[in-house]
């Protein structure tokens, strides 16, 4: 009897601890959304192929959200990710067109590295201006985003172009061991890498310190400027990689194909519990945010909701998800 009560007490404290963890909010929301979706579409939604499909779509937004999380953690924001994705996709598609025509079916590693460097470079420009001029990240990345958008339009003349090699076709449509889509696998790997970066390294600790209190971080001897610039470079990098993933799926360089990813990524990160004021949040939460956004898109299509109504519902769910977050912690 004594044991039982101890057990119950132990259980309730475990539940309490789970509930008190700031991460649990978004995951509870995720589970609820999954259950509701399974009820709304019992035939299709919970099937393996549909879930794999959701994950595949989630992986692109998820990739953008990784870098966005880092930037939000230093109390910044990056509105140029959409355009980084577009320019990277278009440039890579163009570069691959010739080699694909020449019968090259490989990874086009040169083109891949080139576009990833483009992403990093844009991040470097963003970060440097923001840090060295003390400018607002919102307006600076809005500006650089527009510049890149324009350059992409000039480069592509506004029309989709280029193609992808056999390797990237497979990457976009096939699955590892016929089980996990390659895109999801890449996303998972990058998540692990960035989770290690944020939680197991000095750099990650510095990111949280800067986001919590920039002045205290500086007076503790942390190199605030360089660390912040690196955050934007990382964000540019993941955006570029997301651009490549998107390209692999649609198989053509589409200058408009990535629109909306910036806002979706920011929403996913914030739904996942990361504070826009910096210093608080993590990638585990972002994952929940990403999945919530992806499931939402999926289920609204499955139940055949009016596309215009879908936008309204999406907006409402973002609002609710953010409003139910715990204020403290």
């Amino acid at each position: 009897m004594g044991k039982e009560t101890a057990n119950i007490a132990g259980k309730s404290s475990v539940i309490k601890r789970i509930l008190r963890n700031p991460i649990s909010g978004p995951y509870i929301a995720l589970i609820l959304l999954f259950i509701i979706s399974s009820i709304a579409s019992p035939e299709i939604f919970p099937t393996f192929s549909n879930v794999a499909n959701i994950l595949r779509q989630a992986s692109v937004m998820g990739m953008v959200s990784i870098g966005m999380t880092v930037v939000l953690l230093v109390a910044g924001i990056d509105l140029s990710v959409t355009y980084i994705m577009a320019i990277c996709a278009c440039v890579m598609a163009n570069m691959m067109e010739k080699s694909a025509a020449a019968g090259n079916n490989g990874m086009a590693i040169g083109a891949l590295i080139f576009v990833l460097l483009i992403g990093c470079l844009v991040g470097l420009v963003n970060g440097s201006i923001i840090v060295l001029r003390g400018a607002e990240p919102f307006i600076i990345t809005l500006g650089t985003g527009q510049v890149i958008k324009g350059i992409t339009y000039i480069y592509t003349k506004g029309a989709p172009g280029g193609t992808v090699t056999e390797f990237w076709k497979n990457f976009g449509s096939e699955s590892f061991l016929n089980l996990i889509p390659y895109a999801v696998l890449l996303y998972a790997v990058m998540m692990v890498v960035f989770m290690i970066l944020l939680h197991k390294t000095v750099y990650g600790r510095h990111i949280y310190a800067i986001g919590s209190n920039e002045e205290a971080a500086r007076l503790t001897g942390i190199k605030v400027k360089i660390n912040k610039i690196i955050a934007y470079v990382l964000c540019g990098f993941t955006a570029a990689l997301a651009g490549v993933m998107l390209l692999a799926r649609v198989r053509v360089g589409e200058p408009n194909g990535s629109s909306g990813y910036d806002m979706d990524a920011i929403a996913a990160v914030v739904i996942g519990g990361t504070a826009m004021s910096g210093g608080r949040g993590n990638l585990a939460g972002t994952l929940a945010g990403v999945l919530i956004m992806a499931i939402m898109n999926n289920i609204l299509n499955l139940v055949g909701a009016d596309p215009n109504l879908q936008i309204v519902i999406k907006g409402l769910i973002i609002l609710v998800a953010v409003l139910i977050q715990r204020k403290d912690d």
């Binding site: 600790r205 310190a209 209190n213 002045e215 205290a216 007076l219 503790t220 001897g221 210093g279």
Partner: protein, 500 residues
Amino acid sequence: MSEYALEMQNITKTFSKVIALNQVNLKVRPGEIHALIGENGAGKSTLMKVLSGVYKPDDGKILLNGKEVAMHNPKDAIKKGVAIIYQELSLVPELNAIQNLMLGQEKNTCGFIKGKEENQFAKSYLDYVSHGAIDSYTVPVKHLSVAQQQMIDIAKALSYNSKIIVMDEPTDSLTNREIEILFECVRKLKEDGITVIYISHRLEELFALCDRVTVLRDGQYVADENIADIDKDWLISKMIGRDLKDTFPPRHRSDSREVVLEVEGLTGEWFRDISFKLKKGEILGLTGLVGAGRTEVLRTIFGADKAKSGTVKICGEKVDIHHPSKALKYGLGFATEDRKAQGLFLNQSIEKNITMASLNKISKAGFLNKPKEINMSASYFKSLNVAAPDTKKLCKYLSGGNQQKVVLAKWLASECKILFLDEPTRGIDVGAKYEIYQLMDQLVQQGVSIVMISSEMPEVMGVADRVVVMHEGNMTGEVMQKEFTEEGIMKLASGERKIG
């Protein structure tokens, strides 16, 4: 009419088991200037926050003119005639005097501001308070001096028909001349029947200005007297409840001659030509009035601000520190005055705060070694006696004294050789203060050298081995411990130069 304009009876207030106020009484007669004094942490601010409705008391009554009232929130308190002027002024820097005064009580028709009426209304109060001491009513108040801003705050309080005005350490950041102007203003309020509660730790001021005094200590009411009947020694003994000498731990100093830090002709934005030497195992006091440039000197040495000229030598080697990260490499540490804004990562755990300046010691190739981090933070958590359930607690939930301990732990963990402490005991209760002095003593025994900025004269005299005094950006003198007198140091702090 009741004998008292304000009576606070048996006010008790606890914060999660910590008793901040225990059965405190305060009786203020109409039209008097009533001083409320006590050490930091004695409960003055908490009592005033109860009065203004920021906190709800657990127990006790508030009576205005003999009638019991309940203060629900600051707005409610203002409505009932009680206004508080805080140290941090509540003005909007970008608005001008008139706009600030009218903020929240704008004269308008359907939302459109009636400029003429506002000007007239605001000017009547501003003129009354300032007598022309405010340069302009139409420039943004950020361009005005602190004293002028204070007057606007007072005028604002009067415009709400306040009968009781509380001033919380109003002279802290004023020059002597400005203090005089403020005193004029306060005396005028008194003549016109306004009751003033005046909080200050500058005892001289009380004798110059106030009629009665209430003393608090450790959250308890101690005494209530006519100023005319008492003297300074009486006040101090009531405030600290024991002799001054027991406030500070005994000194254990080595007699080292080794100079670890030498500053020569250092000039920055706010100070000129500062030179001093710091010896190994010494506590050097750096004192002066607020605004004398003390903090800026240390910030500049630490690489947080830019120096215009001058040299800094560490252990005889000339160094060029242009970023705090470099200061850490040379073994410097800096516990800033404003813990929350500049010292702590409030949203992070105690553990992460403690190790933040020593991550290189607990990492390899950029990867953190978690067991080492846990060990490091636990050992300082224990040795500094931080009152918290465990090291995972977020720093924002700690009291001021414990937050300061975490800041100190951070620098101890970095094993710095030279430690700058800027007002290390500000806002900390008496018991924790003693612990911090003890810790400083232990540190210097271990060969650490400390520069301590402090505005509290007893602290400077009780802890420092030598004092450098500054006045308005200039160094006015250096005093050895055996020559310490409060008067002598105050003279230097107010600008009299030491000859020879």
